[in-house]
């Protein structure tokens, strides 16, 4: 990498189910203003703008045609990015790469979703292969329900373990001023919530959220002039897995996640750990902000990210390892199950991780010092973006 890169400003909107008071561009602008204020910069200081959303959820397929006045990209270079659930992370990684390249010193990254304006499920099922399995497409609820079912069967996990994690997420969300669902949940509330498809209850699934996020990213030289508290982007990685399930002997023995096969989650985490000398995540990472559209995904992905051993995810839930006060806190912000403005969601992981590293997360700030934070995102059902943020370089 030519230049080291730091996050020097973060911003997000307050997240809601509906925002009829603003249009899409005005929504983006709220996050842009927040990030510029946080960096104490103006648009004059910005060399390039990267932006995006999951355009098929709103049904406007060149949103960058409308956005320049809201995001400040007029007469500046940049591009629009759409990569499913990873959109916000991919936009961030593009901004990191721009700043690292030496071509741009200060880059603005903007991500949003206005889910009150379209049909997210119709958008989601249209990403499936039209000739092979689109006719069977069942949306995220049933997909994660099957993952949960398979996981319970393979590991001995009970529903209570998912409920514990859902309550953990809610505790975080209730402390996070920006979170969407703040419900003051008990285990009983969770386990009495409406059953959608066994074992998926309403509360194990993310809400449909309206919101936006933004980052200001700078090269090392510039970052040190902009802020006393730069958050260094130690590494970022994107890994794809193959496009459809095919025969692989021995696959049956693994904890199965439907439609995933050999997972990009495993490879992305291992790659970033190896490149950065992380041999034991629970010791070498202080906090993780992971992308968990469903609590069932969170349980399984602890294992795929190598946080714990295979089959141990639900035991971690039982022991509270990933609670804010636990040995390895995951999603002190409340996570995706509380707040999911899809295109912005993966950027919010990075925003929240950066706030933890800075010590600026407020009520949901970890009490222990945070030196290194790990974030993830999942795109479609086929690729993973992971980042590693650090207090020092």
């Amino acid at each position: 990498m030519a230049e080291r890169v730091a996050i020097v400003g973060v911003g997000q909107t307050y997240h809601r189910s509906r925002r009829p008071d603003v249009n899409q561009v005005e929504l983006m602008n709220e996050a842009v203003r927040a990030a510029l204020d946080d960096a104490q910069l103006t648009l004059k200081d910005i060399d390039a703008v990267v932006m995006g959303n999951m355009e098929l959820f709103e049904g406007n397929y060149l949103v960058d045609m409308w956005a320049s006045d809201g995001i400040g990209s007029y007469l500046k270079p940049g591009m629009k990015i759409t990569t499913g659930g990873t959109t916000g992370a991919t936009i961030s990684c593009a901004a990191f790469t721009y700043a690292a390249s030496g071509l741009f010193n200060t880059v603005l990254a903007v991500a949003f979703e206005k889910q009150d304006e379209g049909d997210t499920r119709a958008g989601l099922i249209s990403v499936r292969d039209p000739l092979w399995d689109r006719f069977m497409a069942i949306g995220a609820v049933a997909t994660f329900a099957r993952m949960g079912r398979s996981y319970m069967r393979a590991s001995g996990c009970q529903e209570e373990h998912a409920a514990l994690l859902r309550v953990k997420a809610d505790r975080g969300a209730c402390r996070n001023p920006y979170a969407h669902l703040k419900l003051n949940l008990t285990i009983e509330d969770v386990m009495n919530s409406r059953m959608l498809i066994w074992p998926m209850r309403l509360l194990y699934m993310c809400p449909t959220t309206v919101g936006a996020a933004a980052l200001v990213v700078a090269s090392e030289r510039k970052a040190k002039k902009i802020t006393k508290k730069p958050v260094w982007v130690q590494d970022w990685v994107t890994v794809h897995q193959q496009s459809a399930r095919v025969h692989r002997p021995g696959e049956e023995a693994r904890v199965r996640t439907i439609g995933v096969g050999e997972t990009s989650h495993e490879r992305a985490a291992q790659l970033i750990y190896k490149r950065n000398g992380i041999t034991k995540p629970i010791r070498d990472i202080d906090v993780a902000e992971i992308y968990e559209p469903s609590t069932w995904g969170e349980l399984i992905w602890y294992e795929l990210y190598g946080f714990c051993e295979p089959g141990e995810g639900w035991r971690w839930a039982e022991k509270g390892v990933t609670d804010m006060e636990g040995e390895f806190p995951v999603n002190p912000s409340g996570g995706v199950v509380a707040t999911n403005p899809i295109g912005a969601t993966a950027m919010i992981r990075i925003v929240e991780a950066a706030l933890q590293v800075r010590g600026d997360a407020g009520e949901h700030q970890m009490t222990r010092p945070v030196r290194r934070a790990f974030t993830t995102a999942w795109g479609g059902q086929n690729w993973t973006v992971a980042t590693l943020l650090s207090k020092s370089i």
């Binding site: 329900a145 459809a244 439609g259």
Partner: protein, 160 residues
């Protein structure tokens, strides 16, 4: 922070209809022709790693080699690997038609080891278990069009 709306905010309904047509290409095309004409399922085999590619395709994503014409006829029998019974109202994304509830979807591992996702005939979730042996039921020849829905569903033939 947004204030509670005190004025009337207008929202414009924009209904959108976009028809498409997709080419299957030579490999998936042959698969669909066999399905339509002979109710047979085909995979092709990677010359390098030897695994079966299903759906059939031109290139093995792991070996980056051309897969070619080493075709293998698959059994129409397999086992239920996992399943869920869908109870939410949902439309078939290909036709827009509302699906009849409840309906089970399952991952079925065919005898050769490849998997696909399809419907089960049995709709009572109490009667479905992982490991059940199932067999494909095809639509009659005159109704088959060369698409995955030429398989009507999988029928339970034997319990585990």
């Amino acid at each position: 922070m947004t204030e509670k709306p005190s004025e009337e905010f207008l929202v414009m309904p924009i209904p959108l209809e976009l028809p498409f047509q997709w080419a299957a290409g030579p490999y998936l095309g042959r698969f669909f022709r066999e399905l339509r004409d002979n109710a047979r399922l085909l995979a092709n085999k990677c010359p390098q790693c030897g695994r079966l590619l299903f759906p059939p395709r031109q290139v093995c994503a792991q070996c980056h080699v051309k897969v070619g014409e080493d075709w293998v006829e698959l059994s129409d029998k397999g086992v239920v690997e996992d399943f869920t019974v869908v109870v939410e109202p949902m439309s078939d994304p290909s036709t827009g038609e509302r699906r009849t509830l409840p309906y089970p979807t399952a991952t079925i591992r065919l005898e050769e080891g490849v998997s696909l996702i399809h419907y089960l005939e049995e709709t009572d979730s109490a009667k479905i278990r992982e490991g059940l042996k199932v067999q494909a039921v095809f639509k009659p020849r005159e109704k088959r069009k060369g698409e995955m829905r030429d398989i009507l569903y999988f029928r339970i033939v034997e319990g585990p």
